[in-house]
């Protein structure tokens, strides 16, 4: 069952500069999808479109089969949302916020709330303004998950947190996910977090989905070839080789991202460009990200 359907979505803030330019993908129930992309790639815009906070200029979006522009309240009842710049009323106490959220959601789980509050060591009588950034984010997480949402949308949820707080935040998210079978869509710049949590990654570049793949499959099927520059070796020539996802000039060499087994890719390049087989290898997600979206 598809929880999210995003079809050919276009959204711009300025004429002729689309942030999202025909973005399309879908998310199945129970999936954990990491949304990646450079700054300005359209991640936040897309997540806000899903929440009904921004209207797409063309294309169709369906969340739980509903249009976020027409039924935003129904969608928000079934969704948890945490954003990096989602500032809670600073003078509100944690207890007041939790009480308020409890009154908004019919399925609020008091036991989960208690468990999380004690796990995070939060003081219920503390005001948001008195809390550290990490504590405020933990309150946000509690507010987002205790109604057992079917979909959890996290927009840079751990941005600005120290590694320990980030790990704690994300591990809690995973545990809650495993317990409740929630679908999670989150954006992040921390590749280690994405590798730890996500089962699938969607990479946005220039407003389009550049890569949409299962994470394990991505690691196994993509490799990077480093080909020294030469008469026959140019970016265009490398991109013309079968299976090339993207190539870029890196000074003395051309780096290319290819689909396929490293040895097979090396042989393919050697045959096409008439050069010695270049070094090819599978690399971590962060390297792949840089090679694919780097300038």
């Amino acid at each position: 069952m598809q929880i999210l359907q995003i079809n050919n979505v276009v959204r711009a803030y300025r004429r002729g500069v689309p942030v999202l330019d025909g973005t399309s993908f879908a998310v199945e129930k129970g999936e954990v999808v990491g949304l990646l992309g450079r700054n300005g790639a359209g991640k936040t815009t897309l997540l806000r479109i899903l929440m009904g906070m921004i209207k797409p200029q063309s294309g169709a979006v369906r969340v739980f089969g509903m249009d976020p522009q027409l039924q935003p309240v129904e969608i928000k009842r079934r969704t948890g949302f945490v954003a990096e710049d989602q500032v809670y009323p600073p003078l509100c106490r944690a207890s007041e916020l939790l009480l308020f959220h409890r009154s908004l959601y019919a399925g609020w789980d008091n036991a989960m709330e208690d468990e999380l509050v004690s796990r995070f060591g939060l003081r219920r009588d503390a005001r948001i303004s008195e809390m550290s950034k990490g504590e405020a984010r933990q309150v946000a997480l509690i507010c987002a998950v205790c109604h057992k949402p079917e979909l959890l949308i996290l927009d840079e949820p751990a941005g600005g947190l120290d590694p320990a707080a980030r790990r704690e935040f994300l591990e809690t998210s995973i545990q809650l996910l495993n317990r409740a079978g929630t679908t999670i869509l989150f954006s992040s710049h921390h590749m280690a977090d994405v590798e730890r949590i996500a089962s699938r990654v969607v990479l946005l570049d220039k407003g389009k989905v550049c890569i949409d793949s299962d994470l394990d499959q991505l690691r196994e099927t993509l490799c990077i070839a480093v080909v020294p520059l030469g008469d026959t070796v140019t970016v265009a020539a490398l991109e013309a080789v079968l299976g090339c996802v993207r190539a870029r000039n890196n000074g003395h060499s051309v780096h290319g991202v290819f689909h396929g087994d490293p040895d097979e890719v090396a042989a393919r390049i050697a045959g096409a460009l008439r050069v010695d087989p270049p070094p090819c290898q599978n690399v971590p997600l962060e390297e792949l990200f840089i090679e694919i979206v780097g300038r």
Partner: protein
């Protein structure tokens, strides 16, 4: 649900503060209308900076599973309370005059509520038009307190609210559908690297740090309030610093650049001062010829309020520097800012028995009167001495600022 939303609204604490402060103000002065108007100005400015006053909803509120109209209604209630609570306290004593002030601010709110200002989507011209509408309404209501005018303004407010209500989407939008054209910039003027040539190039970041609609509104409010009652203008001291409270933070990134700290200090100190002088120059051109019961001329007020406020702003800004220099907490900083103000008022305390035209004057009237008379009635040497003292304070603070190892507490926190 509406009450719960009101309680969590970022502007709600200001309603509470106003409720507590209003009765005190009523006791303080028999000329409380201008104080109250200034208080409204300050609250609007402060609530704007701390409570997203100008937005129909924050990101947090838009994410709640509630219809946009419910959230919008709660914001309207909060902002209406912001104007109504102190107004109701003053209503029995001042009647139509206070109603005029309340309605003026209600116009401002109604106009703001019709905007779509979430995430910078409000067009600049609309902000200017709405500011102008507010000022016109305020002026008209103050000068012509007629029943039909009140009714007309109420009708406009209701029409604006009704229009907004019908236009609200199911969920709040954080960005407008309207697309702005991309401006094509010309080739920027260049200067040799490291030369630091060109006054405009060097100072453009400073200019951009404070250029906006707030200075326009500030000047307008100062001039208009000054035209209503000269003493009132003195209380706009609350308004302008609040509009410029972010000036320090917006300039502090330059600490990490090879920009002389003297220049940073001069800009941060100079902008509010220049604004005050400009505002009170305008005030002097438009104000009436009395200060409370005292007849005065325009020139007198222009010069004296400008000077008196220069003194106050210098002190306030100086305390700001001290607070940052000493790495104090914000609350301690506020105390230190309030101390010189209290000291100035304390200077007038022994004179509170002063009578004007055989009539006992209120404390605030005497304060405003004496503050202005003080600077003109002094002999020239004393005025020069005062000016030298001001310069001395400035130079001391500048030196102190230049010596500071850590420019501000925020930077220190982030480093930690």
């Amino acid at each position: 649900m509406l009450w719960k939303l009101v309680r969590i609204d970022p502007c709600f604490p200001w309603v509470v503060r106003l409720t507590l402060v209003s009765p005190l103000l009523l006791l303080l002065s028999e000329y409380s209308i201008p104080i109250l108007a200034a208080l409204y100005s300050a609250v609007v400015a402060l609530a704007s900076s701390t409570g997203s006053y100008q937005r129909r909803a924050s990101l947090y509120q838009t994410a709640l599973p509630l219809p946009a109209r419910t959230i919008w209604l709660s914001r309207v209630v909060v902002h209406s309370l912001l104007f109504a609570v102190p107004g109701v306290v003053f209503l029995p004593k001042f009647g139509l005059r206070i109603l005029a002030v309340m309605v003026s601010f209600a116009v401002l709110h109604a106009v703001l509520c019709t905007l779509r200002p979430e995430r910078d989507s409000a067009p600049g011209w609309w902000i200017l038009v709405s500011s102008a509408a507010f000022l016109v309404a305020m002026g008209a209501l103050q000068f012509y307190q007629r029943g039909w005018l009140f009714l007309a303004v109420f009708a406009v407010i209701l029409a604006l609210y009704g229009w907004t209500w019908t236009r609200l989407p199911a969920g709040f939008q954080l960005a407008s559908e309207r697309l702005e054209s991309v401006r094509t910039m010309g080739v920027p003027a260049t200067a040799p690297a490291g030369s630091g040539q060109g006054w405009l190039a060097r100072n453009r970041p400073f200019l951009k740090a404070f250029v906006g609609w707030q200075p326009v509104v500030s000047l307008g409010v100062i001039a208009l309030q000054g035209s209503l009652w000269s003493g009132e203008a003195a209380f706009t001291i609350l308004f302008v610093p609040s509009a410029f409270s972010s000036l320090w933070d917006s300039c502090l990134w330059m600490e990490a650049t090879p920009t002389p700290r003297r220049r940073i200090f001069a800009w941060v100190m100079g902008v509010p001062l220049a604004l005050y002088v400009s505002g009170f120059a305008m005030c002097g051109l438009t104000q009436r010829t009395t200060i409370g019961p005292y007849p005065v001329d325009a020139q007198y007020l222009t010069i004296n309020f400008a000077l008196a406020l220069l003194l106050l702003v210098t002190l306030v800004q100086s305390m700001n520097v001290v607070q940052r220099r000493l790495q104090m907490s914000k609350s301690s900083g506020y105390v230190m800012i309030c101390l010189p103000m209290a000291a100035i008022l304390a200077l007038f305390l022994p004179l509170t028995q002063l009578n004007g035209n055989g009539r006992k004057l209120s404390f605030a009237s005497k304060g405003a009167y004496l503050l202005s008379r003080y600077l003109t009635d002094q002999p020239l040497p004393l005025s020069i001495l005062c000016a030298l003292c001001l310069i001395g304070v400035y130079l001391y603070m500048e030196r102190d600022f230049q010596r500071a190892d850590v420019p501000c507490r925020r930077q220190m926190n982030s480093a930690v």
